[in-house]
């Protein structure tokens, strides 16, 4: 055993994690699930019932929390709680939509890049690096310039920006897996390349990739909020938390709840997603199961 192995622990030892760390990983996962779960429940409930109609501007403006508006009203007299609940839908849709779009494109491109050799690899890597150099917001504004600002255009912009990052990560992971002997062993067992990709490459890159995608979900939510804040996301009356922040900031001293509530929810969702991503890593990996 080399010195490095003596220091880090022989491979078998990695599987039997020490109790304290193992416990804290599942605590992380639980807290994350609770946080995200609450928001998901709110979003689902909003599909069936909200306290007031979203366009209802009958309430008095900028009211503090009380009855009948449990969290108060915004500058146009709309119920804040209703807006927040619908905003949950938009935040989750933005996160999920971007991740699906960015994930599918990114993984496909990354797979192709992972298999590419020499000059083709250099070209693809350069293209990816150029794409990544574009700030997401800049990309979003470009997309918005070509069509009207909407949730869809925001999702497309965020998804495209994300796909480059996912592609670059996928490429590295694919290359690492392809260098392993079990890929060659699979080929000498007669397995065709497409099946090698499905049976060996994808399952081995998935643990790291899934953690990354979970993190990207949180970033997508933040990105959508930022785009909405800048007026490039879902237009009114669709309530995005980011847009709510932007509209309420002028009256922050009169009705602080209008700023605090959406801000807190954004933070809660992003932290929850990150905690899940962190705890997820262990659950997905068979090598981390305790040795019997």
């Amino acid at each position: 055993m080399s010195v490095e192995q003596a220091v880090v622990g022989a491979p078998e030892e990695d599987g039997a994690k020490t109790t304290p760390r193992h416990v804290s990983r599942s605590v992380t996962l639980t807290i994350g699930c609770v946080l995200v779960g609450v928001i998901v429940i709110v979003a689902v409930v909003s599909l069936f019932w909200v306290p007031f109609a979203p366009e209802d501007t009958s309430g008095r403006r900028l009211m503090p929390p009380g009855l009948p508006h449990l969290l108060g009203t915004d500058k146009l007299g709309r119920d804040l709680l209703t807006q927040l609940m619908i905003g949950a839908r938009i935040a989750l849709a933005a996160g999920a939509g971007s991740v699906v779009l960015g994930g599918v494109i990114g993984i496909a491109a990354g797979l192709a890049a992972g298999f590419a050799t020499r000059w083709l690899d250099d070209v693809v890597s350069a293209l990816l690096d150029i794409l990544i150099a574009f700030p997401t917001l800049l990309l979003a504004m470009l997309v918005a310039a070509t069509q009207a600002a909407s949730l869809t255009s925001a999702i497309v912009a965020i998804g495209l920006a994300m796909s480059a990052i996912v592609a670059r990560l996928t490429r590295v992971l694919v290359k690492r897996v392809l260098a392993q002997d079990f890929i060659t062993a699979s080929r000498t067992s007669g397995t065709s390349w497409p099946r090698v990709v499905i049976e060996h490459v994808l399952p081995n890159i998935w643990p790291t990739l899934s953690v990354n995608l979970a993190l990207q979900f949180g970033l997508a939510v933040l990105a959508e909020a930022s785009l909405s804040y800048l007026g490039l996301g879902a237009p009114p009356p669709n309530a995005s938390w980011g847009r709510m922040l932007q509209e309420a900031q002028a009256s922050v001293f009169i009705a602080p709840v209008g700023v605090i509530a959406p801000g807190v929810l954004i933070v809660v969702l992003v932290i929850g997603v990150n905690l899940i991503a962190d705890g997820f890593r262990d659950v997905a990996d068979p090598t981390r199961r305790r040795r019997r």
């Binding site: 055993m1 080399s2 010195v3 003596a6 022989a10």
Partner: protein, 276 residues
């Protein structure tokens, strides 16, 4: 007079497991001692403990004492960093297994060999350059001038290991610890490097602690051996006694396995060309 005295050494990992238990042995000045074990036996960890280089999280208890002429007797376990730094390179130094990682890839060879010479012997300028050339010549590297200007990736594995040996010997330590120094090398290169080590250790009357899993290699270069299994010493004694008459069952298993493979080479000269 014993140069290195290890008594009741115990090394515990961060999560309370005993990696080395109750290890005791002595190496006399100028003596040749071998530590034999397979992976996970704790042999490399022993080398690190002697140099005071245990990774963070591991704790050592018991005693490891280095008694070097001119520096008195120093207890390594629990010693402070300054004290240990004075010993490293001067009292004891190490040659590791992997020649690829033993050298800094971004630094020229000459510069790296000069390091210990500058630090410990206080040489500068021309004296330093001459000492570097002498060190490289001592390990039988042809064209020491060219090698001194080269980077590690520009020379072969065998040459890198010779450079590592040159660095370890630069300040004439009383004890040289060699941790699997030839395992990563080709067999012809291994033979040359082992012969080199043997010659240099004798020439400078150094003590040698040779760590390996290869029984044949160890028996060729040491006089006394200790067999480690899972951090516990299972057998020790003169190398010929242990190899020809092992007592502990694990030692017997190890010797038998080595004999079986060794015998295959003997069978070649038999009239029927004995492949099993």
């Amino acid at each position: 007079m014993s140069l290195l005295e290890v008594s009741g050494l115990r090394v515990r990992s961060g999560d309370g497991r005993d990696l080395i238990s109750d290890l005791s042995f002595t190496v006399d000045a100028g003596g040749r001692f071998g530590l034999i074990g397979e992976s996970g036996s704790g042999k490399s960890l022993t080398a690190l403990t002697i140099m005071g280089l245990l990774p963070p999280g591991m704790t050592a208890s018991g005693s490891v004492a280095l008694d070097v002429p001119g520096m008195g007797r120093t207890e390594i376990v629990g010693a402070g960093e300054r004290l240990l730094n004075r010993l490293r390179g001067r009292a004891a130094s190490v040659v590791f297994q992997e020649p690829l990682t033993a050298l800094d890839p971004l630094m020229r060879i000459g510069h790296q060999v000069a390091g210990p010479l500058r630090r410990i012997q206080g040489l500068r300028g021309r004296a330093l350059r001459e000492a570097v050339t002498a060190a490289l010549e001592e390990v039988r590297l042809a064209e020491p001038g060219r090698i001194a200007k080269a980077y590690p990736h520009e020379i072969s594995g065998g040459q890198r290991q010779r450079v590592a040996i040159a660095m370890a010997l630069a300040c004439r330590p009383a004890l040289l610890i060699a941790d699997e120094p030839t395992t990563a090398l080709d067999v012809t290169v291994q033979a040359e490097v082992l012969a080199l080590l043997d010659g240099l250790v004798s020439a400078h009357s150094m003590a040698l602690l040779f760590i390996s899993h290869d029984l044949a290699v160890v028996s060729g270069i040491t006089d006394h051996v200790l067999i480690l299994k899972d951090g516990v010493a299972v057998e020790s004694g003169a190398v010929l006694d242990v190899v020809n008459g092992p007592r502990h069952p694990y030692a017997r298993e190890l010797v038998e396995s080595a004999r079986e493979l060794d015998a295959a080479l003997d069978g070649l000269n038999a009239p029927d060309g004995g492949t099993r």
